[in-house]
């Protein structure tokens, strides 16, 4: 089960950190966290995957849903610090050709 932490940087960037397993059970809470940020006016969001031990395709789906929400609000969603398992899954689904992972949260925007 995953725990989703949210905070905002001094530069007005939203940072969402799913801790643990980002699977079908955590996918909806993740999307909701991004939507909540956008609704509060923060449309530039970084999903920090550094604490994510495991991601499945539903988790990837949540990232795409979040990306859509941010873009619609004129912002963007970027991903940072993927673990080895996350990188593998990104490559397997070719999603790495869409979302380029950033090395750190700070350089995402």
């Amino acid at each position: 089960m995953s725990d989703i932490q949210v905070h905002r940087t001094d530069h007005g960037i939203g940072v969402v950190t799913p801790v643990g397993r980002l699977t079908m059970v955590a996918a909806k809470p993740l999307t909701e966290a991004v939507v909540a940020l956008v609704d509060q006016g923060t449309s530039k969001v970084v999903v920090d995957l550094g604490e994510t031990t495991f991601i499945d395709s539903s988790g990837l789906g949540a990232l795409i849903a979040g990306l859509k929400r941010c873009r619609q609000a004129g912002g963007d969603l970027r991903i940072a610090r993927p673990t080895e398992q996350v990188t593998t899954v990104l490559r397997l689904t070719n999603l790495d050709k869409v979302l380029t992972p950033r090395a750190t949260v700070d350089e995402a925007f």
């Binding site: 395709s57 963007d76 397997l92 869409v98 979302l99």
Partner: protein
């Protein structure tokens, strides 16, 4: 000797005799002086031989799975009951039966009709009711595939049992199927569709004992068991992985295509332009498009490329906004028109139509119009996929029969499927000929659509056998054209003496008869005595349906015409009498066959035709009539009394 051993011997024999016959037909028997019927006949026969070879291949590795493995008691399951306009009692009976499924699960009614009374009823019974989210407003709905894709986003079980509204599940349906998923690469388990409202003689050919039996078991042997839309359990991860991969793949293609078109539109506008300031601006956008394309080729993420490109475009537009407002208004109207034309509400393939794009380039755009057109093009295929309700569509939307296309895509990704041969749900078949014809047309159209859009023979990731298993089913739907030839040839001979072969000689029969006999023997051995006659009848008798499915699907895929898609009605319509109008081509064919036989005997009596030729062709006519006659029974069929267990709860 094992049963499969016997099947293989018959398959080999039938293959050899088939090839022997058709080779001789092509090389030594075609009557070229009547080439206009001789060639179609030998082509039709070649079609049938290939059909028979594909059936042999299907039978080669038939896999009869015995007792299923035990399920993981922890597995989480969502049961989806998809409905659109079926009567409430029908949906409710299925939902109540679904509640009683023993393995822990959640039951959901996916009501595409959005009926509040059904939602109310569901809530009272502790059943979830899912309606389309607001994202679907004014976007392609994709029928049942869209309904299920929408529900996938609202639920989170590891496995999904999909049921049509009229398929009443047995309480052990999950206990008998979930165990197969202990194989981590198993994506889907399909069980038979069996109909309880069908009398023993099955006048409408509703039961498909050959398909939900030898054919599915045969495909299973090659890891190509089909998904049939209902009574199947699917692994969510497999579907979602499919959805995410397709999103990534299609996005790369559509963004690159839009950028190329944008570059052309801008270049064209710049040439026609006399304003140097705007010209400079357009040059910079053309440069940006080229740059974005180069970045894509270099492997920069599509999200980053489109983000940067859109930002540069917005800057450019801001600078241009000062220019002539009237020109802009006119162009924007044209752009809106273009945008409307690029969406395909019937199918909604999220790729811009090249013909429409070319039209955009051909128009005489001003600078502002070009800019706005570029933005529209980019918007239409941005990472948000604004033309679709949700960016991820796990169930394929390229066809009105989403099931076949989805299974094929799963197979290309290396997933496995299984066919479990045990009736675990009791369904309702159409009860009148009109509904039956609609249903068969829809299946055929869907299959042909997939053949045109994603031909299995060219799909990467499939084994040769998997390609042939998918292609075999598509091939069987082309039989309508062969049927026309098989009906026409004896009519021509009996009426006018037109002989499509050089002679009805011993050579001819010595090759034809063994092939026909072994072919029927193959059905017998493979089918283990299940009734296959009804299926053979409908294969010929529905020839107008098959032909129409081919032409409508062709026009839909290549010429963007609608399919005239209709949902199969599941209850008897209040029609007055037999709908002879729906089977006019078959009735005309039968009349012509009878008339030709009379003509044949008259010509025989007058000494204008040889006895043997007439008798052989009359036998042929009798066979045609015996096959076609099923359509008369179908037209006269008035439905069966409802079974007691199907009465509303």
């Amino acid at each position: 000797m094992t049963r499969l051993g016997l099947v293989r011997i018959v398959v080999v024999l039938s293959g050899l005799l088939a090839i022997n016959y058709i080779t001789w037909r092509w090389l030594a028997s075609v009557n070229w002086s009547y080439w206009w019927i001789a060639v179609p006949l030998v082509v039709a026969e070649t079609y049938s031989v290939i059909d028979s070879l594909l059936f042999g291949l299907t039978s080669w590795r038939a896999r009869r799975r015995g007792e299923p493995p035990l399920p993981d008691p922890e597995a989480t399951v969502d049961v989806f009951i998809a409905t659109y306009n079926e009567p409430l009692e029908l949906v409710q009976a299925t939902a109540l039966a679904a509640l009683k499924i023993r393995h822990p699960h959640r039951t959901w009614i996916l009501d595409d009709g959005g009926r509040p009374e059904l939602a109310e009823w569901a809530e009272r019974h502790g059943i979830g009711c899912i309606h389309r989210s607001t994202d679907w407003v004014d976007r392609p709905r994709h029928a049942k595939a869209g309904n299920i894709n929408n529900a996938l986003m609202a639920t989170d079980g590891e496995f999904i049992l999909i049921l049509d509204a009229d398929q009443v599940p047995r309480p052990d349906i999950l206990d008998r199927t979930l165990g197969y998923f202990s194989d981590e690469s198993m994506a889907l388990v399909q069980t038979p569709q069996y109909f309880v409202n069908v009398p023993g003689h099955d006048p409408l050919g509703s039961q498909a004992p050959l398909f939900y039996g030898p054919i599915q078991m045969g495909k299973d042997g090659w890891n190509a068991a089909f998904f049939c839309g209902s009574n199947a359990v699917i692994r969510r991860e497999a579907l979602m992985q499919l959805g995410v991969s397709r999103y990534a793949l299609e996005l790369q293609e559509s963004v690159a295509q839009a950028l190329r078109t944008a570059r052309r539109v801008v270049r064209r506008a710049r040439r026609a332009l006399d304003d140097p300031a705007l010209g400079e601006l357009l040059t910079s956008i053309e440069y940006d498009s080229a740059r974005a394309l180069r970045e894509l080729e270099r492997g920069v993420g599509v999200a980053d490329v489109t983000y940067q490109f859109a930002r540069r475009l917005r800057d450019a537009e801001r600078r241009v906004a000062r220019s002539d407002a009237d020109v802009m208004a006119a162009d924007l109207a044209a752009v809106a028109e273009l945008a409307a034309a690029t969406g395909d509400p019937a199918v909604g393939v999220p790729v811009l139509d090249p013909a429409v794009l070319a039209e955009a380039v051909d128009r005489d755009w001003s600078a502002v119009g070009a800019l706005a057109a570029v933005r529209e093009l980019i918007d239409a295929v941005d990472v948000t996929r604004g033309d679709e309700a949700q960016p991820i569509m796990p169930l394929a939307t390229i066809s009105v029969t989403e099931d076949m296309a989805t299974a094929m895509r799963l197979h290309t990704m290396g997933w496995r499927t299984a066919y479990h041969h045990e009736v675990l749900a009791h369904g309702l078949a159409p009860e009148d000929m009109s509904s039956m014809l609609t249903q068969r047309l829809r299946w055929a159209q869907g299959t042909v659509q997939v053949m045109f859009r994603e031909n299995p023979l060219t799909q990467k990731g499939l084994t040769l056998a998997q390609r042939l298993m998918y292609f075999g089913t598509m091939w069987s739907y082309l039989s309508g054209f062969a049927a026309v030839v098989y009906i026409t040839a004896p009519i021509l001979y009996l009426s006018f003496g037109v002989l499509p072969v050089q002679a009805y000689s011993l050579d001819f029969f010595a090759r034809l008869i063994p092939f026909l006999v072994i072919n029927q023997l193959l059905f017998l051995v493979v089918g283990r005595g299940i009734p296959t006659w009804r299926g053979q009848q409908y294969s010929l008798a529905l020839f107008p349906v098959w032909i129409r499915s081919f032409t409508t699907a062709f026009n839909n895929v290549f010429r963007d015409r609608p399919l005239d898609f209709a949902v199969t009605p599941k209850v008897i319509g209040a029609d007055a009498g037999p709908r002879w109008d729906l089977v006019r081509p078959q009735l005309i064919a039968m009349g012509a066959l009878v008339a030709a036989s009379v003509a044949g005997f008259v010509r025989l009596a007058l000494g204008q035709a040889p006895a043997f030729g007439v008798v052989f062709n009359v036998v042929w006519v009798v066979l045609d009539l015996a096959l076609l006659s099923v359509i008369v029974r179908a037209a006269l069929y008035r439905g069966s009394a409802p079974q007691p267990e199907r009465l509303p709860v």
